[in-house]
Amino acid sequence: MAVKMVNLTIDNHPVSVPAGTLVVDAAKKVGIEIPVFCYHPKMDPVGMCRLCLVEIGRPMVDRATNQPVLEADGSPKISFGPKLETACTTPVSEGMVVLTENDKVSEARKDILEFILTSHPLDCPVCDKGGECPLQNLTMRFGPGESRFLFDEKMRLAKQVPLGELILLDRERCIQCARCVRFQKEIVDDPVIGFSQRGRALEIVTFSDPGFDSIFSGNTTDICPVGALTTSDFRFGARPWEMNAAASLCTHCPVGCNLTINVRREARAGGRDVIKRIMPRQNESVNEIWICDKGRFAYHFTESEQRLTEPMMRKGSELVAVSWDEALQAAASRLKKAGEKTITLAGGRLSNEDLFNLCQLTSGLGGQYWMHGTMGGGDLLAQVGVGQGTNLGEFGPGSAILVVASDLHEEAPVWWLRVKQAAERGATLIVASARPTRLDRFAKCVIRYAYGEEVETVTSLVPEYKTDVSEAICAGIQGILGAENLVVFFGSDGLGLEGTTALAAACMELLVKTNHFGRANNGLIAVWPNANTQGAFELGYRPAADLASRLAEAQVAYIAAADPAGDDPALAEALRKTGFIIVQELFMTPTARMADLVLPAQAFTEREGTFVSGERRVQRYYPAVRPISGPRPDFQIAAQIAAQLGFSLEERLASLVFQRLSEAMPDFAGLTYQQLAMVEEQWPLIGRHDLYFGGTGYDNHQGLGVQLKPAAQRLEPLNLPDVPELPPLQAPEGAFLVVPITCLYDRGQTLLPTSLLHERMEKPAIYVHPKLATRVGLEDKQSFQLVLNGISTLVQVIFDENAPEGAALLPRSVGVPIQGPALAQKEIVSG
């Protein structure tokens, strides 16, 4: 589709931009910066602050003849308006002449700034924004040196208004640009903050419970052009110029949001590097300039006092600290003895380099390696994952998105945001889920099924199987048929390993039958539980359904970044039978407590590596802090053990491991760290030090990553798996069905050390529909012993009208082990 281009002149620079571009953006394209406060390139303009006033002239047209009026020299005659116009609300037009630097404009800017500053407290020395504040920058550049207003008449307002426990408001500093209010309403659909009163009395209020109840609230502190909104995490933490910035990735979900970690060396931490805050780093194909609050605040685990710092070996019944040499030797001798009776179990939190060295070590011994997790289907993404060049930001009319069995808002918030925005731009969104989710209201068609019918639902969406289907499914089929591009997200809402594996196969079948695979903006995306689950699949790791028996038979179990004993009592039982357990971890997990040898690993902030996101984008993260002494990177530990056994694995640098990896794995062929670090100009330009201000988020100079081509895009033949049928879920008398769901703020090992989020974390509780509760005999807010897979845990009942009537919902990682749909009973306490 050819976009109509419009030609105009800005300060004598000829510019050609697509029709509909605003004057501010057009100016930015040629490097002319028009100052703004309220305008933000990601939001609709409102023209509230008036700082972007410019002089605009348009070619005169003779009304009688409809011909342009010409000057004597033949050039079109330009008529300038009597007043200045806001550049942020005015779209470009043909022949327009914009003046941004004349006296009239400078005078206007000076006056506007003088007005804005009438009630600004000018407490820059204590303000967290001081040093990266557009109000400071613009006042220095355009403002008056002195104010004509009386200092005594300044408004005196509250300086510490908590909008909830995460974000604080300083009413005096607010310049009423409404960026935060508009962000919450337009971008994340959480209109929980608003303006009350008017004129000088205008103030930001929130009436939600908990206050400022939004999982994207931290972003408002980035885009706030003054220090009115601050996070309680960073408040008074450091001045912006004192911190170092390191590029990193978020490790909490499969989106792979690009981050910048701000670090400072501190006396109160004994001279250690301390992470002061996490900021988004622009990547328009991944997270644009946003991150969720979990990504922003839940980094404290890396600095936890509970981290393991030295290798430990079981001597007698105790784990005692030993030297690395002794630990590595012990590991090597045990592994040598075990040989092919070695089993390696890795978690999706490890980087590709770690996973590669671990699988090389294990295959060298003839052992087997598995992934710890209850979600399958990653191997299918290698065939029909989204094609190289996929960008959800490009989705609009003519594209369709199907989301199956996933509550994206809780599982992968930034994908939720991007899918929602795609739907608002006109993409057809089809949501299939067993319960209402936050995505429903943006969907063209919502398909509701009962837990257990996921595979059937997806299969019925294949147009050629069109049989006797419901109206919703018909609408879904219409949506898919009418779309040029289709992306399918599948998750694990209410599903275990068996269910997700079958669902992935069904989704692949749908994509293949409708020919939506093997090219950009088409294919399958998995909503994984971990940041690098996809990477583990790429390197050949698979989750095992019979893991318990395999562990029980193994002579040595080498477990890295996984906690099978904590997640599943059956696996804990199996591990008791394992000959020797080596655990490589950050924390003393239940599995580590059972281990014979514990090896401390480095956190992602202390080292470098790569992850593969759910969209199969390989991205790099860099070391942010100097490592604490003791722990070593996982890939290095594996390589050092291998060295003792006589194999040569790369142990020096992650980049060298990656080099070997790309030689060994066809999907990664030719990839290097240099390629992953390449950047190109991204639009909109959101620089940190610009007068045209997009937020305190960071520019991306450290790499946009590379999306892998799926096999289908490389024109390799497909291997279509059979879609297994799942047994129907039915609860016998006296029992009821419980299914696992994923919640954003769970009580996992990487989240608990962030005390700031404790109030918002899920409690050990099940969500039950009142009707189901009556049938089972449960009351709201009642605590009872839930018997699940033979294990009894004390949980609370929370009535939830949105829960299905057929099954109770149990969040994962809240202290009650659940792997997939299971039958539960209420324990009868006698006496």
Partner: protein, 167 residues
């Protein structure tokens, strides 16, 4: 030849009766000039609250990178300085300091002042780092020690209103 010797002796004898220019340091100390820049002092208000608000502008202005500041938040129950922010850590490395006085110029609350103490010698490098306790001036009275408990809503301004410096 004798003339030369006598001339020398005369000079010596004359100096003998002149008032000496040397003083008996360290028993006796010479007062410093008004603009002398010696060791830093962190000032207090009359009510005992610290003037320093932990803004770290002194650290930013310091050409020798000698100053290190960490800030924390005041509450009315535990108040160190007016306003919301105070310096929880304040360190100056006296070996690095070049006594240029830029920190004084940068300070928005006139909290840091280069005083008249020039007796700075150390037995090791660690001793050259002066912490906040060593830099803060003594309290005017025992009941004015920081942190103080203050009535709510009184000390809300970090930066006091000040006149332009006159000299």
């Amino acid at each position: 030849m004798f003339r030369g010797i006598l001339e020398g002796m005369r000079q010596t004898l004359r100096s003998f009766f002149e008032k000496p220019v040397t003083i008996q340091y360290p028993e006796q100390k010479r007062p410093v000039r008004a603009r002398f820049k010696g060791r830093h002092v962190l000032k207090r208000y009359e009510n005992g609250l610290e003037k320093c608000i932990g803004c770290a502008l002194c650290a930013a202005a310091c050409p020798a990178d000698a100053i290190f500041v960490e800030a924390a938040e005041n509450t009315d129950e535990r108040r160190f300085s007016p306003g919301e922010r105070y310096a929880s850590t304040y360190e100056i490395n006296m070996l690095r300091c070049i006594y240029c006085g830029f920190c004084e110029d940068a300070c928005p609350t006139e909290a840091i002042v280069l005083g008249d103490n020039y007796e700075l010698s150390f037995m090791d490098r660690a001793a050259s780092i002066y912490t906040k306790d060593m830099l803060l001036e003594p309290v005017p009275a025992v009941d004015k020690l920081t942190p103080q408990s203050t009535p709510p809503g009184v000390f809300t301004r970090s930066v006091p209103e000040m006149k332009d410096p006159e000299d």
